[in-house]
Symmetry: C2
Subunit: 542 residues, 2 copies
Amino acid sequence: MYRLLKCAPLFLAVAVCSGWLFDDFGGKPKEPDEISLWPLPQKYQSSGVAFKLSAASFQIVHAAQSSAGPSCSLLENAFRRYFEYVFGDLKKHEKSRKKARDSDLAELQVWITSADPECDGYPSLNTDESYELSVDEPSAVLKAANVWGALRGLETFSQLVYEDDYGANNINKTDISDFPRFAHRGILLDSSRHFLPLKVILANLEAMAMNKFNVFHWHIVDDQSFPYMSRTFPDLSQKGAYHPFTHVYTPSDVKMVIEFARLRGIRVIPEFDTPGHTQSWGNGIKDLLTPCYSGSSPSGSFGPVNPILNSSYEFMTQFFKEISTVFPDAYIHLGGDEVDFSCWKSNPDIQKFMIEQGFGTDYSKLESFYIQRLLDIVAATKKGYMVWQEVFDNGVKLKADTQIHVWKEKPQYPDEMAAVTAAGFSALLSTPWYLNRISYGQDWANIYKADPQNFNGTDAQKKLVIGGEACLWGEYVDATNLTPRLWPRASAVAERLWSDKSVTDVGNAYNRLAQHRCRMVKRGIPAEPLFVGHCRHEYIGL
Amino acid sequence: MYRLLKCAPLFLAVAVCSGWLFDDFGGKPKEPDEISLWPLPQKYQSSGVAFKLSAASFQIVHAAQSSAGPSCSLLENAFRRYFEYVFGDLKKHEKSRKKARDSDLAELQVWITSADPECDGYPSLNTDESYELSVDEPSAVLKAANVWGALRGLETFSQLVYEDDYGANNINKTDISDFPRFAHRGILLDSSRHFLPLKVILANLEAMAMNKFNVFHWHIVDDQSFPYMSRTFPDLSQKGAYHPFTHVYTPSDVKMVIEFARLRGIRVIPEFDTPGHTQSWGNGIKDLLTPCYSGSSPSGSFGPVNPILNSSYEFMTQFFKEISTVFPDAYIHLGGDEVDFSCWKSNPDIQKFMIEQGFGTDYSKLESFYIQRLLDIVAATKKGYMVWQEVFDNGVKLKADTQIHVWKEKPQYPDEMAAVTAAGFSALLSTPWYLNRISYGQDWANIYKADPQNFNGTDAQKKLVIGGEACLWGEYVDATNLTPRLWPRASAVAERLWSDKSVTDVGNAYNRLAQHRCRMVKRGIPAEPLFVGHCRHEYIGL
């Protein structure tokens, strides 16, 4: 009865051409590969036997043996969310609860097996996100060590449900055993080039959960604006944000983002990029930035953080002390990319310091000097750190648990991934996943084909690849266009980072992804189309 | 006191770099070039003298001398619409009307000077859209021959109003005399590759009015789907739409689009493209398409409309009779592009017909044979027609008033514009304005630089250029991403087609367009950003 899912060897062209001819009034229960799971689970068996789900009787419940119960508000929230995804607005179904019929799937039991379900915890790099899901009558059972695996399984369960010709909800008899290929599966959003209203961030956290992403890399400040409202240094946003009241993230905004993410098993890693990319910092903090010189006098413009003043390090100490308490995650992203040396070179005090330190004219030594001190400051807060690849490339001495974020085209990223891991550091890939870069046509396929472990290296090196991130830099996106530009293109990254390395069939992916994007649209996310075709429920926003 | 607007010679780089430093809390009345009129009027004088506008006292009224009055519902609608754009939600201001103070601008008088204001008419190619606007105390006066010019002037008036530091509405003393450079300023939307919900079409008509576009070219059907519900041939949408109920435009939907457009001075020109691009037609009309052959037997697939059967022409006669009554505009777009000959070549009946007609193996003669008969059919409905350039290129005999729509890269479009106008036909340009084609970065500047009259030709030829259209083909856009992809990129086309030929300063355009896009955002249109920066009122949708 059961049969193993076989990825149908469909070619893209076939899928595309037949799209508009596709009859969505077809009869029998869905074939497993029509159900459009995304990302594809690691092990998946399904049969043609279908059960019905009635909104009036179906329930998601804690299994009797589960270590979690009604006091686990994370799960209670998730039960409600996924019930709504499957059945639509809850309110319609509140009143007339009924007993399930014999042929129905009566319930989904969620069984947390660890003594500590981690209901009030935060996900981390070491979180076990695996789960097992069995759909059979009269109950489906979702088994996970803790709430984080349960969240992933609930998403998968909701994706298994499909409407038959009568609009009734069906689910096929199914067995799934699933776990992520990589532990770090992130999305970078940039709230500095354009301010992103909270609503946009939260909607994208929703979409991330639908794609089993688990890290929100919040590139919260940069040259253009400083929307993070600091308790310790309120002038940073007061003078550095686009607007001190309407274009800032208050402490409660930040808390809300972190909690909204936590409820979806998503870590929030803030990036406070220094010593470059800091123009907006200079508005609020006197003498933080290096004064640039034009000939023998200051030009009035400023460069990177001034690395020769003690006050710079005193500021960073206090600032990162605050950051380390505001953001619960064990990691902070410290940036360190694209430091422009021209301003440092122009400044006579810096020139003198270079001579004193014996740096000659090698300004990357000055950069390393700054970064080294910064890393020590952050290490003292007990946080781990992520840095962009330049910090590694420049030979800065790093703690063993430092994560190197690879983003540059040169050297070719497989070479950089090999170098970083050969040096024993954890590596994260973003180079092929700069989703701000757009081009005409179906670019998702190239996004999909990139693999973080495709480089020459030992098994030990491959194990140091902890994952990757899709980056949506903010120069050309804001609330008006961010979400459709990110989705479903980021979904291609999601499957690469979650599913087995062997899942690479672009034709099969096209079919599932086209349906997955319609599912996101139905759930209110304006994910753009892959190509011609339609969704049963088109986007109803604007 | 008055001074002529001078386009400040700002360079793009300056505008961009200073964007984030720009202080939007500045003091005094706006300088004329800060007011961000888009598209720039033909003649424009403004002074630093500012008047205030109070929502409680300001009114838009018919001038005593106007030929239009309260029974002109088109204007009444427009008065309300522009009052709301200026002051926000009407309801807040309904109750406590007050008398204007001396320093206020008390009212805008709209004065229609022709005997027939055309309140219940439709705009046409020959419509006079010129207007004169004088803002002075105690009243501003907008003078136009008819309602169409008044609509353009109302938009300009609303763009003159700006908020001062206290959020109060101000307007400077101003004199404007304005008219469009080209009569045909269009946007093409494609509702076949993806169905576009009515809401999306209406929102884009709103945005078009904000940019003084006056033609909605509705590429309503194509290979992929046939959403137009025909009264005469209901099977066309019943069998050719993505879904026969949810993905169609009913007769009342079409009426609503036409009326919504009319109220904004926008013509609706439908395109029913034949003989190619007709796969979806074949589902509902037996024998309409050419059966393709594989060797000596039909392959089961179909090609363009079958040009050798009388039944094809009988169908077209009935079909276009309906279309000519449903769409009030004097023009219909008949397509005629990209006819693939391979299916015709494969069909033995077609081969025989070619011999009988003495066409040899020149299938473009067969295409012309079809088009010629189609043009006669449509001419009998008293409609004019637009066709894509291939119809001209293939030497089809055309009525003198035919409009040739130039879209191909080869030959280079200036050469094609020269050839079309040398032959005495009206020409429309779209080649540089295929806005479905996207690339990374600020592509609006190239869109802006293209000019339909930049070709070698006589003055008489230049006069035959009636305008152009921005085209957003639908392969990769639907309700989720269409609007931000179109705006403000299409705004660049809007200014090219409305403003004087000399208005070409990209730096000045950048500054005005960045503000214009924020104005569109404030009015609910998710127009995407040009580059880094912010809007005082960010988009509040998703």
